[in-house]
Amino acid sequence: MPDLLLELFSEEIPARMQRRAAEDLKKLVTDALVERGFLYEGAQAFATPRRLALTIMGLPIKGQDVREERKGPRVGSPDAAIQGFLKGAGLASLDQAKIESDPKKGEFYVAIIEKPGRATTDVLAEILPQIIKNFPWPKSMRWGAASAEAGSLRWVRPLQSILCTFGPETEDPEVVRFEVDGITSGDVTYGHRFLAPGEIRVKRFDDYVPALERAKVVLDADRRKDMILHDAKDLAFAQGLELVEDEGLLEEVAGLVEWPVVLMGSFDEAFLDIPPEVIRTTIRANQKCFVLRDPATGKLANKFLLTSNLIASDGGKTIVGGNERVVRARLSDANFFWKTDQGVKLEDRLEKLKSIVFHEKLGTQFERVERIAALAKELAPIVGADPAMAERAARLAKADLVTEMVGEFPELQGLMGRYYATLQGENPSVAAAIEEHYKPLGPSDRVPTDPVSVAVALADKIDTLVGFWAIDEKPTGSKDPYALRRAALGVIRLVLENNMKLSVSEPSFHASAMHDFAKYLRTRSDELSDMETIAEKMGSEELEAFAEKLAGGTKAIVLDDAREAFGNRGLVADLLSFFADRLKVYLRDQGARHDLIDAVFALEGQDDLLMVVRRVEALGRFLDTEDGANLLAGYRRAANILRIEEKKDGRTYNEAPDLQIVNDQGQIEEKALAVVLHQAREEAAAAVANEDFEGAMRALSRLRQPVDAFFDKVTVNAEDPALRANRLRLLNSIREATRTVADFSRIEG
C-alpha cells in the first residue's frame, strides 16, 4: 500500500505552537481522507522549528468505484422531463438508459451512473491546498509581494516550500502536484540552516528521516528532547552535579533547535547569594538555560546548560562565552534588584499600590489589600490564626508587586515578598503567608496549612470571587479569564484539607459589603464632599462626621460600618451555588457519588463545606447498609404514593398527622410507626445539630422496621377519608424525617 509524505517548510515556527500544529496537520489530513472514503493504516506527524511533516501509511492508490442507479421518468414522459433526467444523470441520449418496469409505475427509464474511484493523488492535490490555506494557527501573518492582494496565503511565518510525495515502497513515488499561493509542491527540502543548508531530494518517509539526519536535522521533537536531556545529564554528571529538570523548558528548547548541542557555561560564585529561585527564573526566562545543583547539598551550582543549534567550529567556546556574558549581565541586574529592594520596607511600598489598577471596576491593589486585610483579620479566629498576624500578613502580601524583582519577573510574586519579609524580621508565619496566600494554584498544588497563611489565602480568594461576582464577570462555559473556578476550588481545598469548619457565606457577605462600600466611595466621593459642605452649612455635626468618614482620604475599610449598609445577601446566595458546583466537581474527582452530593445540597443553607462533605460520606455509608437500602426503598414507596394521591386530590398532605386519629382508629403498625417517626426525627435532628451524621443515620435506621411493617399491613387508601388523609400525612412524615439528613428524592440507583 502506498504512503504519503508531506512537509511544509517555513521560517522559524514559534516553539510553543509546533507540537499542536503537527497534531492539527495529522488530524486535518486524515479526517479529510476518511471523509472521502480513503482509509489508512497509520499516520505520524512531526515538527521542528522550520518544518511540519506528516506521513500517512497504507493508503489505497485510488478510491472505490461507485455504481449508482437513478430512477427516471416513465417511458413516454414529456420531453422536458426526459431532458432533465438525461442532464441530471449525465447521459447523452436515452440509448444509454435502461428501461425497467414496475407493476405500479409501468415502464420507466433508469440511468446507471458508474463513478470510477479517483486517484488518491488527485484527491490529495485537492484537499491539501485547502488545509494549508485554512490551517488553524493561533496567530498567522501575510508576507511578501503576494500580500498586496486580498486573500493571500496566511501562515505562522512565511511558508517557503512544500514537499509532497505519494507511492508504494517498491517503486519511485510520484510528486503530488499542487500549488498554494505561488508555492508549487515538489520533492525537495533543505537541511539545517547553517550546518547543511543545501537542497535534499526526497522519495519517501523512509529516506526522508535519514537524509534529514545527515543534514543535521532531527525530525522528531521527542528525540530532540531525549538528546538534550541525555547530554545535559551527562555533562552535569561529569562535573559531579545534578540537572534541575524542567519539562516546560525542555519542551521549549527542543522547539528552538533542529540539531541540539548542549554546552555548559558558568557564572561568578558570588551570584549564588541571590535566592536560587531568582537565579533559576532569570536564567530560564531570559536565556532558556537549565541550572544545576550539587546533589550533596541540594544547592544551586554556579553552572548552567545551554542548548545551541550548532556544531561550532571552535567546539562551542564562542557560544559559551557569549551566553556567559548575557547570564552575567542578567544576574547583575537580578543582584541589583535584590539589593535595591531590600532598601525599602514592604510596608513603605503600600502607597505605590495605589497606582496599580487591579481591575477597572474593582479599584486599585491598595484598596484590595485593605479589603483582604480586614477579611483576613475577621477569618483569623475561625481558622485558628492570630488576628493581628493575619492582618499584618495580608497588608504586606501584595507589597512585592512593586519591587524591582517582581516587576522584572512577575512569576516570583509572593516568593520575593517572603524573602524580603524574612529579611526585615517579620514573624515566620507572616513571611510564609505572603508567599502562600496565592496557593493553591490548581488541583495539584500544595494547600497551605499554617493558620495565618490559610486566613490570608481565603481572604484573597473570597475577595476576588465576590468582586467579580459583584461586577457580573462570572465564568461562562470555557471562559474564565480571572481564574474564578480555580479560586473557588482553592477555597474548597483550603477548608476541607485543613478540616476547617467555616460557613463560606459569612466571609463572602463581609467581602460583598467591602466591595460595595469601596465602589460607593469611588463613585460617590464628589457627592460626599458636597454633603460635607451642606452639613457644615446646616451645622449638622453628625452628618458632617459621617460624610467625612465615608469620603475619608485613606479609604480604610471598617468592616462593622460597611457590613450592614452594604452587604449583599443575594450575591452571596448566587456565589454559594457556584461553590456548590465546584464542590461537586471536587468531590466527584475524589470518587464521591454525585447524586449524594445533590441530595445534601438540596437542603437549605448548606454553606459549611466540611459539613457537606461529612454528611455526604455518612449518607454513602448508610445507604450501603441493609437498613439504609431498605429505608430508601420505604421512602420511595411513601413518596410515590404521596405523589399519586396528592395529584389525584389536588392538595398536599404536609400537615403533621393527627395522633388522636392514629390512636383511635389506627392499626398497631401505624401506631408503632407514628411513635418511632417522632423519636427518630427528634434524634436525627439533635444528632445533625451536633454534627453527628452517623448518629443521625443511626436514628433514621430505626425507621426501617416500622416502615416495612406499615407497608406490609396497612392500606393507605382507607375508605374513611379522615383515616386515609391521616395515613398520607404519616407518609409525609417519613419524607420529612429523611430530610433531616438529605433530600432522598435526589438519590439514584
Binding site: E11, E12, M141, R157, S308, T318, R325
Partner: protein, 313 residues
Amino acid sequence: MTSEPAHMNPARSFQGLILTLQRYWAEQGCVILQPYDMEMGAGTFHPATTLRALGPKPWRAAYVQPSRRPKDGRYGENPNRLQHYYQFQVILKPNPPNLQELYLGSLKAIGIDTSLHDIRFVEDDWESPTLGAWGLGWECWCDGMEVSQFTYFQQVAGFECSPVAGELTYGLERLAMYLQGVESIYDLNFNGQDGDRKVTYGDVFLQAEQEYSRHNFEYADTEMLFRHFRDAEAACRKYLEAGEPKDGSNDSRHLMALPAYDQCIKASHMFNLLDARGVISVTERQSYILRVRELAKACGAAWLKTEGGGVAA
C-alpha cells in the same frame, strides 16, 4: 571585500559598525537616510518606516535613528541602559522572499561568523500601541543575546499593510559591545582609533546621560510638557484638516500628511517625558496612549491619500 582600515572594523569601532551596515544595506538597494530630526522613542516612528510602510509603493530604506526613552535613563550608572541610544533600522517593502538570508548576510558583514556563533530566531510578536501597529517575527539571538528585532509588519496606524514590509532593528550599542567584547556601553570604542586618538562612547555620551536623566526624572517642566502635548495634538488635527482635499477640486490628494505626522511624533515624545516624570497615573496612561494612536491613525489615513501613499499624481 576591499581591505578596510583597522579603525573601520566593526569589531573595534562603533562607527565602523554603523558604516558597515549602511554599506551592506545600500548594496541591497536601500536608500540610506539620515536620522529624522525629531525626538522619538524608536526608529519605527521615523516617517520612512511608519508612513512608508503604508500603501502599495515599493520602498527600501536604512538609517540610524537616535532613540529616546526617558524612563530608561540611569544617570550613566548602569552599564547596559541608556535614555538615548542608537537603532539601526531597515525597512523593505514588500519584504523580499530571502529577507532572513539578507539579515544573516548583514551579520556576516559585521563579522559574525555563523560557523562559530549560535544564531536563533526566537518568537517575538511586535506591537506598538501608540502607533496602532503590530507584526509577527522574532528576536534574533546571537549566542543567547538579543541583537535584533525582525518583524513582518501586518498593520500600521490601524491599516493593513498591503503589501507587507519587513523591518529589521539592530540594537547598535548592544551589538557593538558584543563585537568589541566590552562590559559597559561607555567603554565602547567609538571611532576605532588607539591611544590619544581613541574616543569612547562614554567620552561622547556619558555627560549627556547624566544630564538628561536628571532632566527626565527630576526637572523636565511638566506644565510645559502637558501644554506641548495638547498643542501638538491640536496642531496635528489642524494640519490634517487643512490638508484634506478641497470640495470640488479634482485633486483628491491630502496635502499635509507629513507635517501632521511630525506633531504626532512630538506628542508621543511629550507623553514619554511626562511618563518618566511620573505625573501620569495608570488610568490616564491608557488614555494618553490612545490619544497618540488616534493621531497616528489619522496621519496614516492622510498618508494613504498622498502620492507616497500610492495615489496617482
